[in-house]
Amino acid sequence: MKDAAAPKDAAPGAALLLLAPTKWRPWEYALWLLIAATPFVFAQHGALINEIAILALFALSLDLILGYAGIVSLGHAAYFGVGAYGAALFAKHVMPDPLVGLAVGTALGAVLGLLTSPMIVRGTDLTRLMVTMGIALVLYELANQFGEFTGGADGLQGVVLGPLLGRFEFDLAGRVASFYSLAVLFVAFVLMRRIVHSPLGLSMQALRDNRLRLQALGMSVNARLTTVYTVGSALAGSAGALLSQTTGFASLDVLDFHRSADVMTTLIIGGAGWLWGGLIGAVAFKVLHDLISSVTTQYWTFWIGLFLVLLMLVGRERLFRPWTWVRRSAG
């Protein structure tokens, strides 16, 4: 934390206050150790762990955009899908190395994010909502139309990856895949921590809360939003790349609207605006999904919908702290 140290003449109290949340807490180390242990303990559930890790990474990337920068996006699947198709096509036609493919997927997400960010930074919430959704829809239509390239509605099949680091072959049980995705998730998490607590991240939060004031203070709001949006898109691209690499398959589903809605639901369940939100949300979402699906396969969206409505009506704080219900009615 040396590099983030405040100027010497600033009040030491303020510096401590600003730096306090940047420290890694003991429970964070503990949680990461637990996460790293899961593929060993639940070796037979490798595919599920892989899925959760990818969803967590995707939610993390949305968290940066939505939770920290306050951009309401209903089209985050666009970047996920570009990463997925990019990595799949790269592995199929150019080179089967997973890490290079991951880099390609990430880069594609970043480029698309950079290209589309001028449309995102302007306008009101409604306009942004529409534009983000529109971008995802346009990409969906494109992927559908260029069928000879993307496989169209049948999906892109026959993606075969080389061994990870030239050593570990991807196995059917998804063990290597789960380690791979968790490692990428960890790197992204550490990166996000740095960004969020950097001056850039702090100014993002200030911007989210009061845009006008930041402008008055002389910050170039649009440049900052563009940077953050690009980073978020890049992470979404890497999540997509992980998905198509580990499943060996990319279909139109990666660009579908329900994916954008799902990832938002995930993030909201876990809590937007803090880094663990995406991770906790991903675990909760997948567990909820499996639990409800085992009871009613077809209608599980009803219960997710009900959960969202209740969460919004009652409020996160009160829903997860039942003991405050009594106090409130008493006061």
């Binding site: 919430d125 306009t127 909502l129 529409m130 971008i135 077809q298 009900l306 969202l308 409505v309």
Partner: protein
């Protein structure tokens, strides 16, 4: 050619009736209601059930669809929507997506997931043809009926907004709810009535559209984008804006699908992004005029 234009207009008018309720709630309460399509779907299913199982005549089902959707809308406004007005947009979006998920799954449960359709009455099937050659105008009777009903509705709504007491109260409440409340206008009741009426219109549009748009449980998601396009492109401060936007959208969609079917929805979405970049507040909003 003329036939295409006519079809586009019919489609656009239908979209207008469907999205008008959304435009008004958006302008009035500044509330992003993604669940609007659910009310339209409700209207559609009311029509289907009444016609098929109760044997009601088509014309009697349309008002029934309106009333059913309006009642459910009023109920939902009172119990669910009101606490959400003051919340951030993100909360509203998630809340209404949740509602839509519930509506879709519930409809699937009760009505089955397959697409349903109805038999339109004999006097509405077939088409009228005028002129000949390249300039032949073929009008499906049902589409003509839609245009007539929707034009009548648009005129009536404009008249209500412009000339009645309720209309002036509504416009005052849209412009500034606080001042309107200070002047003794019962803003809450105006909100309630407007929401119910908007939902009713959506229900009516859904009922009218069963034959043209198709109806299945995924209806709210399939057409949500279209409703939102109409509102965001048209702006939410007048009736004219959404009307023009809906007509544009209808024409663009019909022409696009006819001439370049390969591009599909691409044209519509691309056009929307372009317009929103040019005028982020919508083509006809009050902000753009100032």
């Amino acid at each position: 050619m003329l036939t295409l234009i006519f079809d586009g207009i019919a489609y656009g008018m239908l979209l207008f009736v469907l999205s008008l309720g959304l435009a008004v709630t958006m302008g009035l309460m500044n509330f992003i209601n993604l669940a609007h399509g659910a009310f339209a779907m409700l209207g559609g299913y009311v029509l289907v059930v009444l016609m098929r199982q109760q044997g009601w005549p088509f014309l009697a089902c349309l008002p029934a669809a309106f009333v059913a959707a309006a009642l459910v809308g009023a109920l939902a406004e009172r119990t669910l929507y009101r606490p959400m007005y003051k919340r951030p947009h993100l909360d509203q979006v998630l809340f209404s997506i949740g509602l839509t998920f519930m509506a879709v799954a519930a409809t699937d449960y009760f009505m089955g997931s397959q697409q349903v359709n109805v038999q339109t009455p004999g006097w509405l099937s077939g088409r009228i043809e005028l002129g000949s050659g390249d300039w032949m105008l073929g009008m499906g009777r049902y589409r003509l009926f839609i245009v007539v009903v929707c034009v009548a509705l648009a005129l009536a709504l404009q008249a209500i907004l412009a000339f009645t007491r309720f209309g002036s109260r509504l416009r005052a409440a849209v412009d500034d709810p606080r001042v309107a409340a200070g002047l003794g206008i019962p803003v809450d009741r105006v909100f309630l009535l407007t929401f119910a009426f908007g939902s009713g219109l959506a229900g009516l549009g859904g009922a009218l559209g069963v034959d043209v748009l198709g109806l299945d449980p995924s209806f709210p998601f399939k057409f949500m984008v279209y409703f939102l396009i109409v509102c965001s492109v048209g702006g939410t401060s007048s009736i004219t804006g959404p009307l023009v936007a809906a007509l544009l959208l209808g024409l663009a969609d019909v022409f696009g699908k006819y001439y370049v079917p390969k591009l599909g929805g691409f044209i519509v979405y691309g056009l929307m992004i372009a317009i929103l970049l040019w005028r982020p507040q919508g083509l006809f909003s009050a902000m753009a005029r100032k």
